[in-house]
Amino acid sequence: MSFLKKSPWIIHYDGSSCNGCDIEVLACLTPMYDVERFGIINIGNPKHADVLIITGAVNSQNASVIKTIYHQMGDPKVVLAVGICAASGNFFRDCYNIKGGVDTVIPVDIYVPGCAARPEAIIDGVVAVLKLLEEKTKK
């Protein structure tokens, strides 16, 4: 049995988001949504985390940082791209410094749509991640 889905720990990385999605991610922790019910903790440390949540697009400066953080997470791990920026770059896509969505540097498992993504959608995404985590553990 996998305990991963009972206690997914999250690290949240802010790419070049407008902070809209960031605030929604943090809103999940508030009494209103309280993701700790599912054992989810925002841990802020790649070595402890199981889920990497990235908001905002990837730019040329943070590409290497995202890669490092990803590689510092222990397996099994999943990546959640929150917001349209993280999925494709959104309207920043053509900026001189933007590389595009998160999947241009690391593999992404779940995309959460929305600009900004709603907390309900994010929680939905996380629940989808839990299933994925279980599959990954079995592997």
């Binding site: 019910r37 841990i43 222990g74």
Partner: protein, 283 residues
């Protein structure tokens, strides 16, 4: 025989009780913040999950240091539950903590390093009070032997209220609660990444969590010793103290290390020291 039973009980039941206590802690904390909170068994899920994760290390030593940390923590508690010398318990606890500090140092990572420094400072802040508690027991009960301390007729709290207060004060440091969770913190608290435990991942981190359960129970056992003649009251009061710690945890912001060190030494000197003097004069 009794001693062996005590040790056995501690080794088996302390993590269970500690884990449940931590789970309750998280629920109570959540309720205080108007949230619902995780299930009671959440701490166990966390640890079991950590064991299923990849063992990510910076070098091959720090995991083993943590293993030694856990072993010495268990030894420390075993000495207590075997009814042996109180001072030995404190000394073994120091050794355990030393291993934790060395584990953090050995990673040579900036965040762990700061955590290790702060853990050392916390040890510096706590150790005098723990030893003074031991001496207080000696003066009040006539022996360092925990077996003897437990068998004293009247609760010792009446003879050593000051020491009790001092111990509860440093307890906050020992069970890593705000405002004194300098070296590393719990659950969703964060500062300087995760302090001491930053570089520990997977099964290695699980050891730290389990050790934390043991430590919590050990510390609450210290509280219990003050009420040992009334076991039921003692257990209830130990839980009450833990509840008070949760309240303190939720109502205080983290302080600087200077304040931690100075205030705990002042409390130690004022409450512990004066209480010792009174016990000495009464003797």
């Amino acid at each position: 025989m009794k001693a062996l039973l005590g040790i056995f009980g501690f080794v088996i039941f302390a993590p269970l009780a500690g884990g449940i206590l931590c789970g309750l802690d998280r629920i109570v904390t959540a309720r205080m913040q108007g949230r619902y909170g995780p299930p009671v068994l959440q701490s166990f899920y966390d640890v079991l999950k950590l064991f299923q994760k990849q063992n990510l290390v910076v070098n091959r030593f720090h995991g083993y240091f943590l293993f030694c940390f856990l072993i010495f923590l268990i030894i420390s508690g075993s000495i207590l539950y075997a009814g042996d010398d109180f001072l030995m318990v404190v000394f073994a606890l120091t050794v355990a903590d030393m291993f934790l500090v060395m584990a953090a140092y050995s990673t040579n990572s900036p965040y762990s390093f700061i955590g290790a420094q702060r853990e050392l400072l916390q040890m510096l802040a706590v150790e005098p009070m723990l030893l003074i508690t031991g001496i207080g027991f000696y003066l009040a009960a006539g022996s360092f032997d925990i077996g003897h301390i437990v068998s004293v007729g009247k609760p010792l709290i009446f003879k050593m209220p000051g020491i009790f207060f001092g111990l509860v004060y440093v307890l906050t440091i020992k069970i890593r609660k705000s405002p004194f969770d300098l070296s590393t913190s719990h659950h969703a608290h964060q500062e300087i990444v995760k302090g001491l435990t930053t570089e520990f991942a997977g099964p290695t981190l699980a050891l730290v969590e389990i050790a934390h359960w043991y430590e919590t129970i050990l510390m609450l056992s210290f509280v219990f010793l003050f009420f040992a003649s009334q076991p039921v009251v003692g257990i209830l009061l130990a839980i009450l103290i833990y509840f008070i710690e949760i309240i303190i945890d939720n109502t205080n912001a983290r302080v600087k290390w200077q304040f931690t060190l100075k205030s705990s030494w002042i409390v130690t000197l004022l409450f512990g020291g004066i209480n010792l003097f009174i016990l000495y004069i009464l003797k």
